[in-house]
Subunit: 93 residues, 2 copies
DNA sequence: CGTGTAAGGAATTCTGACACG
DNA sequence: CGTGTAAGGAATTCTGACACG
């Protein structure tokens, strides 16, 4: 029953994401060009985000406030994902 | 930690709900006038739905296909909510 | 580098109504 | 009763660019 996929289902448009995160649409779009966030697109090109994306955006905003560059944030997020991959594969053993 | 509120957070607009449920926007709006579903509104009047609303819409659609009237569906949904209320209050004792 | 803004166009959503039945 | 549709307007989103620094 794929039911708790709600967290990662991309269904929220950018205006709502802006409200939920407190970030401007400009910022949210920019972080995409910096490869920090990966929304889906509707057939007509409208960006769709998940709750997970929103959590991630809030983290990104926190890092930026501390003066961390998007480039560094990207590296850290990548590192973290690799750790998650390891956990998953080891839990499968 | 209000984290699993994702299911009931109203953030999805009607076009996406239509895709996810297979219902037409016309149908979704109509069920609102029949008091079967209660979206929130953005300041500018745009309807916002939750994943829970989507689950509910699918149920409604199933009932309608079976020939049940919206009036009956409304009664049943109300009954069910009252049962839930009872569970909640008794679990608090 | 990260973000604001004005610009013009395309896609989305809204309401009230006519239609069928 | 439940749903489709055309109508006109309002709100949303998109991209590329200029600006500051």
């Amino acid at each position: 029953m794929p039911n708790s996929d709600y967290r990662s289902k991309k269904v929220i448009s950018i205006g709502t994401v802006s409200e939920l995160t407190g970030l401007s649409e400009r910022q949210i779009r920019y972080y995409e060009t910096r490869k920090l966030i990966f929304p889906e697109r509707s057939k007509t090109g409208i960006r769709k985000y998940s709750f997970l994306d929103i959590e991630r955006l809030i983290e990104i905003a926190n890092h930026l406030e501390e003066g961390v560059w998007t480039q560094e944030i990207r590296k850290e997020l990548k590192r973290r994902e690799q750790l998650n991959m390891q956990e998953v594969s080891s839990s499968l053993l």
